[in-house]
Amino acid sequence: MSSYADTVREHVEAAGEGPGPDTGHDAVRETDADGPEALTLVEAVCDGLYSEMRRDEDVVVLGEDVGKNGGVFRATDALYEAFGEDRVIDTPLAESGIVGASIGLALSGMRPVAEIQFMGFVYPAFDQLVSHASRMRSRTGGRHGVPMVVRMPYGGGIRAPEHHSESKEAFFAHEPGLKVVTPSTPADAKGLLTAAIRDPDPVVFLEPKLIYRAFRETVPEQPYEVPLGEAAVRREGTDVSVFTWGAMTRPTLIAAEELAEEGIDCEVVDLRSLSPLDADTIVESFRKTGRGAIVHEAPKTGGLGAEIATTIQEEALLYQEAPIRRITGYDAPIPLHALEDYYLPQAARIHDALRETVEF
């Protein structure tokens, strides 16, 4: 099993020198002067924003309630105090305005990081994302890229009201020109976000809010990138490959441990980048195990699970020993919270499907 901390360390080393230690960000992270410290995922997002804003003054944060209030999940906590109202900007309540403005800000030479308060509220901005941000570079024959990040919390499990638990990453991954990433750990959150902010193209940055505060992990204070487009093998195994991302990584790893006790050895791949997909890692893992499954929260039909399974059968059919199973949300809207645990994949369901896959 490749150590996750190792990966992070590598990236930090590859990134070289950062801008040196910082003493002014106590509100965002209560820095232990000697080194990195354990952050939650949402704190790591905030830390990533902080360190990039500090490094590059073209980076601005905008959205609803991101300023004084520090974001409804505190993902922009203390940034307003640190960088002022011209770099941490509370906008009117208008998502198309926020994303459209961000495109314009990027065209003017800035690096906007827009927050959409919940994924369920991104649709008013869908046009600006899929018709404009995504294709500005190609329509201008390369003159104008749109280096911007659109962050949004996504996914269920936090007992939120209607429209607050959506998981529709597939909408964005189907649009050429956009990149889509989602972290499953605090350290990845900072590293992917840093890479996303530095990326010359628009990145949809999905934050699995179920695990915003689920656990802490050492997150280097230096800025570092986790490269976009690279999946992470979270657990090596030989019997079946499970592909997942975001908040579903944890129940998948739990199911994998349970199955280990039954003598079934699962490989768990956290995709991290949903567009572009890391097809090499996916196919390589599958070739090794010959069996596969996908776990995601989104409805099954038309979800990214289909793309992954299809890519595998295109590239590795001759290795395939069992149908690739999809353990996903159902083809129904995610219900109000009393039933959401029945809707979302959890360890028992994953466990059950993986066993079937191996026994096929």
Partner: protein, 379 residues
């Protein structure tokens, strides 16, 4: 822009701006103001609804603290406007509420327990009874506006002159494209709709001044060629009058009258945006002071008192009745049980085969692993 200082200033200016008002801050009828024609019984019923709303709010906040309901959006300070607008509706009129319009829904026919059901995670509260013309609450901001407009338009096209449609939204909602498109259609097609903008001065942490640079929200109606009125939203009688008039005009417009109206009901969000929100992070309490002195419940009480309608005894009866109704509602809401099959119901009028198979699969899994296996998704 400094939100706090602006808000601090702004109750001063707000108070000066032209808005319809009938009661002064103590509930006395202002000189020259004309009271709406409501019977004593109606006035008392309205008052009881106000008390109920206030108690419901207090109780819901405490239920949330106890973990018995999920995130709740309080309405304290805004219930006067909610109750009055719904009182002004005829039974056949339709209501499009937001997540904050609990009292408006209740007055127009929704049971108290149905208000609590979604907060406990059940869609029972969204399954409006057949004889109640209330849509489920809208959470995506402003999206109800074109829909409410469309329903009103449909009634007009079908010649059903007995329905007007009332659509609630906040000050923040006026920034969304759907506000613009909905009001513009209403003007062009002259439909029987009443838009009620509950300007509580805040969209979560964003003050009204940062939403838009227009001086009032009411004047936005001008851009759509429709009429608007600005009313003191903490004055239940003024709100009732303005709304009643708009409803009349929607259904029976006079010679040169347009059907749609935008009502800006000027209020203040006394408390937090929701139980997950901490307003002390982004505002101080000073602005609220001005408004708290004009508390709608107290003001109506003062008015009734002045008319000799509100005896101590009656107050006691009302409080007791309200308490009891809330208690019963909580019991009812807490008696609802989870039915996982519901996930698959009503996605389509007829369940597609794929969904049927998914339902089967879930049933099998529950049988095999027990409901406990589903009791919590891991954090």
């Amino acid at each position: 822009m400094n939100a706090q200082s602006e808000v601090y200033e702004h109750h001063g200016t707000e108070s000066d701006r032209d808005r319809l008002q009938i009661l002064d801050e103590d509930g006395n009828v202002l000189p020259g103001a004309e009271e709406p024609s409501l019977s004593d019984e109606e006035l008392l019923a309205m008052y009881e609804a106000l008390v109920l709303a206030r108690r419901f709010d207090e109780r819901a906040i405490s239920l949330q603290r106890q973990g018995r309901i999920a995130t709740y959006a309080p309405m304290t300070g805004q219930e006067g406007s909610q109750v009055a607008t719904s009182y002004a509706l005829d039974e056949d009129d339709w209501l499009f509420p937001t997540y904050r319009d609990h009292a408006a829904k209740h007055v127009h026919g929704m049971s108290l327990s149905s208000l609590l059901a979604p907060l406990r995670g059940y869609r029972d509260g969204y399954s409006i009874p057949d004889d109640v013309n209330v849509m489920p609450e809208y959470i995506p901001i402003a999206t109800q506006i074109p829909q409410a407009m469309g329903m009103a338009w449909g009634f007009k096209l079908q010649g059903q002159t007995d329905h007007a449609v009332m659509c609630h939204f906040g000050d923040g909602a006026t920034s969304e494209g759907d506000f613009h498109e909905g009001l513009n259609f209403a003007g062009v097609f002259d439909v029987p709709v009443v838009f009620v903008c509950n300007n509580n001065q805040w969209a979560i942490s964003t003050p009204r001044e940062r939403q838009t640079k227009s001086e009032t929200l009411a004047e936005k109606a001008h851009a759509y060629g429709i009429e608007s009125v600005r009313v003191d939203g903490l004055d239940p009688l003024a709100v009732y009058r303005a709304t009643r008039e708009a409803i009349r005009k929607a259904k029976r417009p006079g010679p040169n009258e347009g059907r749609p109206t935008l009502i800006e009901s000027v209020q203040y969000r006394f408390g937090a945006h929701t139980t997950s929100d901490d307003p002390s992070v982004y505002r101080d309490g000073e602005a609220a002071e001005w408004y708290r002195k004009r508390d709608p419940v107290d003001r109506l009480a003062g008015y009734l008192d002045g008319r000799g309608l509100l005896t101590d005894e009656r107050e006691t009866v009302i409080e007791a009745r309200v308490e009891k109704r809330i208690e019963t509602a909580i019991e009812e809401a807490e008696a609802i049980e989870a039915e996982p099959d519901d996930i698959f119901e009503h996605v389509y009028a007829e369940m597609p085969e794929r969904l049927e198979r998914q339902r089967e699969r879930l049933r099998d899994l529950r049988e095999k692993y027990g409901d406990d296996a589903f009791s919590e998704v891991l954090e």
